[in-house]
């Protein structure tokens, strides 16, 4: 059947390299969290960028999407698209809501 070409053997180095990348990005996330005077919105952008980077590495290498056919790409893409739907509609509520701080919320 077309669509799946994951029959070749992957070297162990692929997985060890992926692991090291993930560890490096984890450290980067922590370091970015402690940089002083970063505006909140920029902190969120940095954290999300690193998170997407890590997720992409996992999906491509550990989940073998890199070596798979178009159908697997389509379904992996659909997962991301659905995530965007969820975030976009949920955040649309937040940005269009009159915001009233509640006791306990950070300033």
């Amino acid at each position: 059947m077309a669509g799946h070409s994951d029959s070749h053997v992957h070297p162990v180095s692929l997985y060890t390299r992926t692991l090291w990348w993930l560890m490096a990005l984890l450290v980067l996330t922590v370091v970015a969290g402690y940089i002083p005077n970063v505006p909140n919105w920029l902190g969120v952008v940095i954290a999300l960028t690193i998170a997407v980077w890590k997720a992409t590495i996992v999906i491509m290498n550990f989940m073998h999407v890199r070596f798979s056919g178009k159908l697997a790409w389509l379904f992996a893409g659909a997962g991301f698209f659905w995530l965007i739907i969820m975030l976009a509609f949920a955040f649309a509520d937040y940005v269009s809501r009159p915001w009233e701080p509640f006791h306990g919320w950070p300033e």
Partner: protein, 557 residues
């Protein structure tokens, strides 16, 4: 462990070829896994039904005189959690999807048989945890586990129940993945996408929702358990969290979950109506694509559950508009079923009665959904019995009628026995009448302002509540009858000797033995005709090719 293998004289089938307990509990056969699910969810259905009976008995009188308010809260939570997570969501996909999908597409099994068995074990482990939580004092959060009540205030084993639902959710994901891959990769030669039975299209759409939506609710519920256990602020405002965020994440799955329940039932109805009208489903392509449309648009409407819970009005307008749109593909299906029946040779057998019941009840459930899609009426009706009536019309009147239609339609194929037709028709009528008597008064009660989730109410609502309770006893009898006569038929029912007792079209009827062979087909079938080709009864939908003759000798030999 020793396994008793088949030694009889009749042709072995999936039921008799191995009979030990281990052969059932360790089976990879999709048909046996379907039966495991059937037995499990039937038990859960009876448990959930018992909780419903207690709720209705309490509401037979205005005073809260049978159950205390605390016990009442636990009872409706028990009813909701069991019925939704342990019965409705797995019902048609895990039982009939498992049993029929490979047979309908000409495959020997699903793509991942081991994952299929693992799915049942995950489901049972999850169910066990939920039941332990319910029996160890119970939980009173409602099936929605709304925060911050569930994460910060509710007593009882909420976290255990949540982990149970989490596991059952993964069982659902496994089933969805299995079906998607099976449909893509394991169709028999000639079984093109537009020759697929509409039940398979419905299962495909359902599987998309299971795979794309269930992980969200699983993780969300786990976050509730994390907040509850470790006091990490996610949803509780006192800890810096946001309760509306919980509702966004919960309903992102839980509204599409309604379509996990109803889409498979719609697939069943397409099969049954076609078989008992002896006509090809009118507008086949539209019905097929409407399943996908429901699955996709169904993901864009969750905010209509939050019109009155703090969501922005502007988001509400968008969600309201999208909710109106999702009614269109459902209407396409309904009109096409009616057009299929029109001028058909209608046979009034039990499955058809359930299918017709489905159509009537689903239309009422769907149209009252439009009252709730409109923000102005929604605000008045939120948290009233109107909501209770609406979703029972969809999830019981729709999904369970579809489930019962499927159970009666494919019962002879699953068991090789026929149930008593007269009792079947009586039960179908009792379910229809009992259901309407139970839930129609609740529309009026809700319109009058009776709130849900209270164990007592003012005197002026007593008559309608008595009607509703009386109806529930008729409905209960209607559900109990099939349990009795179907069980009876396993031993005493007429033995089905022909492959196709209904004269239906489809590989599972035309090419599969009265009780399927353990391997379904002797060889991979070849499909030559479209689905529901009732116009050409002399032409089979497909055939099993003869074995190639073994050539001995020849010029090289």
């Amino acid at each position: 462990m020793a396994t008793a293998t088949y030694t009889g004289t009749e042709k072995p089938n999936y039921l008799n070829w191995k009979t030990s307990v281990a052969s059932w509990l360790l089976t990879y056969d999709h048909k046996r896994i379907a039966i495991l699910y059937l037995v499990s969810i039937s038990v859960f259905f009876l448990m959930g039904g018992l909780a419903a009976a207690l709720i209705r008995m309490e509401l037979a009188t205005p005073r809260g005189d049978l159950l205390t308010s605390d016990i009442y809260n636990k009872m409706f939570t028990t009813h909701g959690v069991i019925m939704i997570f342990l019965f409705l969501i797995p019902s048609i996909p895990a039982v009939f999807g498992n049993f029929l999908l490979p047979l309908m597409i000409g495959a020997r099994d699903v793509a991942f048989p081991r994952l299929n068995l693992l799915s049942w074990y995950f489901f049972m482990a999850g169910a066990l945890m939920v039941l332990i939580a319910l029996f160890r004092g119970g939980i009173d959060t409602g099936w929605t586990f709304y925060t911050p009540y569930s994460s910060s205030f509710a007593k009882g084993e909420v976290s255990l129940a949540i982990v149970g639902v989490f596991l059952a959710g993964f069982a659902s994901i496994f089933t969805g993945i299995n079906f998607l891959v099976t449909i893509h990769k394991m169709r028999a030669p000639g079984m093109t996408w537009f020759r697929l039975p509409l039940f398979v299209w419905a299962m495909y759409a359902t599987s998309l929702i299971q795979v794309l939506g269930t992980p969200v609710v699983a993780i969300t519920l786990l976050l509730v358990a994390v907040e509850r256990t470790f006091r990490i602020g996610i949803f509780d405002p006192n800890l810096g969290g946001d309760p509306i965020l919980y509702q966004h994440l919960f309903w992102f799955y839980s509204h599409p979950a309604v379509y996990i329940m109803i889409l498979p039932a719609m697939g069943v109805i397409s099969e049954v109506i076609s078989a008992f009208s002896k006509r090809r489903v009118f507008g086949y392509h539209f019905v097929a694509f409407s399943s996908l449309a429901i699955a996709i648009i169904g993901f864009l409407v969750w905010g209509h559950h939050m019109f009155s819970t703090g969501q922005s009005m502007y988001a509400g307008i968008v969600f309201s508009f999208l909710t109106w749109i999702v009614a269109i593909p459902s209407a396409i299906k309904t009109f096409n079923w009616m057009a299929t029946i029109w001028k058909g040779r209608v046979h009034w057998d039990t499955p058809m009665l359930y299918a017709l019941g489905f159509m009537g009840l689903f239309v009422i459930g769907g149209l009252t959904g439009l009252h709730l899609a409109a923000m102005a009426t929604n605000v008045h009706l939120t948290d009233t019995y109107f909501i209770v009536a609406h979703f029972h019309y969809v999830m019981v009147g729709g999904a369970i009628m579809g489930y019962l239609a499927a159970l009666h339609f494919w019962w002879p194929k699953m068991t090789g026995r026929m149930y008593p037709e007269g009792w079947g028709k009586l039960a179908a009528m009792l379910v229809f009448v009992g259901f309407n008597l139970t839930f129609f008064p609740q529309f009026i009660l809700g319109y009058m302002g009776m709130p849900r989730r209270y164990h007592s109410y003012p005197e002026e609502w007593a008559v309608l509540n008595v009607l509703s309770t009386a109806g529930s006893s008729v409905l209960g009898l209607g559900y109990l009858l099939p349990v009795i006569y179907l069980t009876w038929s396993l031993k005493y029912g007429k033995v089905v000797t022909e492959r196709n007792p209904w004269g239906a079209r489809g590989l599972e009827w035309e090419l599969v033995d009265p009780v399927p062979d353990p391997h379904n087909f002797e060889r991979t079938p070849i499909v030559t005709r479209p689905a529901y080709d009732y116009g050409h009864p002399e032409e089979p939908t497909g055939f099993v090719p003869k074995p190639r003759p073994v050539v001995v000798g020849g010029k090289d030999g």
